[in-house]
């Protein structure tokens, strides 16, 4: 086990350094890119903190949307433990949902409402990591 600081503490230190020590002494394009760099570190911090939990919640929401009505197999009840397997499983479920939308399954009716509710929750989660200010201020 590594000593403190933790990964998140180290990343916060890098972000603080770039924001307060590097950005102010640069100009023009370099300053802009330094701001982008600090912002990207912030994304990494938030994804390390909340990413796995978001993926599990997305898996739980996707399962019923992608289940076939005449499916005899019992639906899996818990998301995969292994984060790599979980990521691949969510990717596959998203591909299936995309295909269902493309063939018109979500054009109308109850599935449309369920798909919209799921996608709103998913995009809000993506924004909580990529740009939390967008959810608060709409920009």
């Amino acid at each position: 086990m590594q000593d403190r600081p933790t990964i998140l503490e180290l990343l916060a230190a890098v972000r603080e350094f770039v924001t307060h020590q590097v950005v102010p002494v640069l100009e023009g394009g370099k300053q802009f890119h330094a701001r982008v760099a600090a912002n990207v570190v912030g994304i990494v911090e938030r994804e390390l903190r909340d990413g796995d939990e978001q993926l599990r919640a997305e898996w739980m929401r996707l399962q019923p949307l992608c289940a076939e009505e005449d499916d005899d197999d019992p639906a899996e009840e818990a998301p995969p433990e292994d984060p790599v397997v979980l990521r691949a499983a969510v990717g596959a479920l998203n591909a299936e949902l995309a295909a269902r939308i493309r063939q018109g399954d979500a054009d109308t009716g109850p599935l449309r409402a369920a798909v919209l509710a799921h996608l709103r929750a998913t995009i809000d989660d993506k924004l909580r990591i990529a740009n939390p200010a967008y959810l608060e201020h709409g920009r």
């Binding site: 802009f32 591909a95 018109g104 995009i123 990591i129 920009r139």
Partner: protein
């Protein structure tokens, strides 16, 4: 090629083109413009007073088709039609003299940073006048007779085909070709758009990238409309919808570039002879514009992922797709 050699070659090209001695001084590259270099210089043509000119040059000799010549002809036609654009003077349709195709146009002083327009006190008058100006200028752009100005080379949908269906197919193909992971929100938007494509009632010249970031302004408002390389023939409502896309509001609350309302934009467009505006059709093009911007974000991140361009900015655009998807979910009923 360094600036000194470029200045020397430019002077000899201009001397041949103008038929009198031309000197080039103070050549320097202006910021921005990844797809095209922009250089500012002072030219003295024969015995005329020195004047400020701008050189627009392709980034390299590899660009095969002559987009520069097309953009030059569009600018020429717009200038002749009273649309505010920089006057163009010389076209270098041969890459030999300057190492890449180029043209030379007037320098128009002003600002292009939309954030300044939204926030600086100096632009208060511009903020209140620009929505009306943009509507009126767009009406003029759409009234230009494409055939009479020899602009028939501009891309156009097949005769009788809805421009909306044509554009939708183009961007769907682009999306299918590049998306590295599934995007259910984009799928939903493509379905929404496919069932609502408006008919081709009127086909006009379309600017193709009519947004606040492509407007040169000063304290009184619009000085020039820039960046005509995406000009094509299609549904004029496309430009109105693109102008309202949220990504061009730079944090401002109002839908037209953060500074104006849709109603004011449409009223100015109609008052200037652009014809009646059907808000439903513009809404289609606004949804289309957001889908298009989402696809462009994915495409930009893809150029990073493929290892072609090691740019942090391009990489971070991949994570901005979520903002556009959020907006798409708001716009689709």
């Amino acid at each position: 090629m360094g600036a000194a050699e470029l200045a020397e070659r430019l002077a000899s090209f201009l001397t041949r083109a103008a038929g009198v001695p031309v000197t080039v001084e103070g050549l320097r590259r202006l910021a921005g413009g990844a797809s095209r270099e922009t250089w500012l210089f002072q030219a003295t043509v024969g015995t005329e007073a020195p004047r400020q000119l701008v050189l627009r040059r392709d980034p390299g000799p590899t660009s095969v088709d002559s987009d520069r010549a097309h953009e030059y002809r569009v600018l020429e036609a717009m200038h002749a039609s009273g649309v505010p654009v920089p006057a163009v003077h010389w076209l270098g349709d041969d890459p030999e003299p300057l190492g890449a195709r180029f043209f030379v146009m007037d320098y128009v002083p002003g600002e292009t940073l939309a954030r300044r327009l939204l926030r600086d006190a100096a632009y208060e008058r511009a903020r209140t006048s620009m929505t009306g100006q943009l509507g009126a200028i767009l009406a003029r752009i759409h009234s230009v007779d494409v055939a009479a100005h020899g602009l028939g080379f501009l891309p156009a949908p097949h005769e009788g085909r809805s421009p909306a269906a044509h554009e939708l197919e183009r961007y769907e193909q682009l999306y299918r070709g590049l998306a590295p992971e599934p995007h259910p929100v984009i799928e939903l938007a493509l379905r929404w758009l496919a069932t609502r494509t408006p008919d081709a009632r009127r086909r006009t010249l379309v600017h193709g990238d009519y947004r606040i970031g492509n407007v040169l302004f000063d304290v009184d408002g619009v000085r020039a409309i820039l960046d005509w390389e995406l000009a094509h023939q299609g549904d004029p409502m496309e430009d109105l919808g693109w102008m309202c896309v949220k990504a061009w509001r730079f944090g401002g609350a109002l839908p037209v570039g953060g500074i104006g309302t849709r109603e004011d934009l449409f009223a100015a467009y109609t008052a200037a002879g652009g014809g009646a505006v059907d808000p439903e059709v513009v809404h289609f093009w606004e949804v289309f514009g957001n889908m298009k911007w989402a696809v462009i974000c994915i495409a930009q991140a893809r150029t990073f992922l493929d290892g072609g361009v090691p740019s942090l900015e391009l990489a971070s655009l991949g994570r901005r797709t979520a903002e556009v998807e959020h907006e798409l979910l708001q716009l689709m009923d």
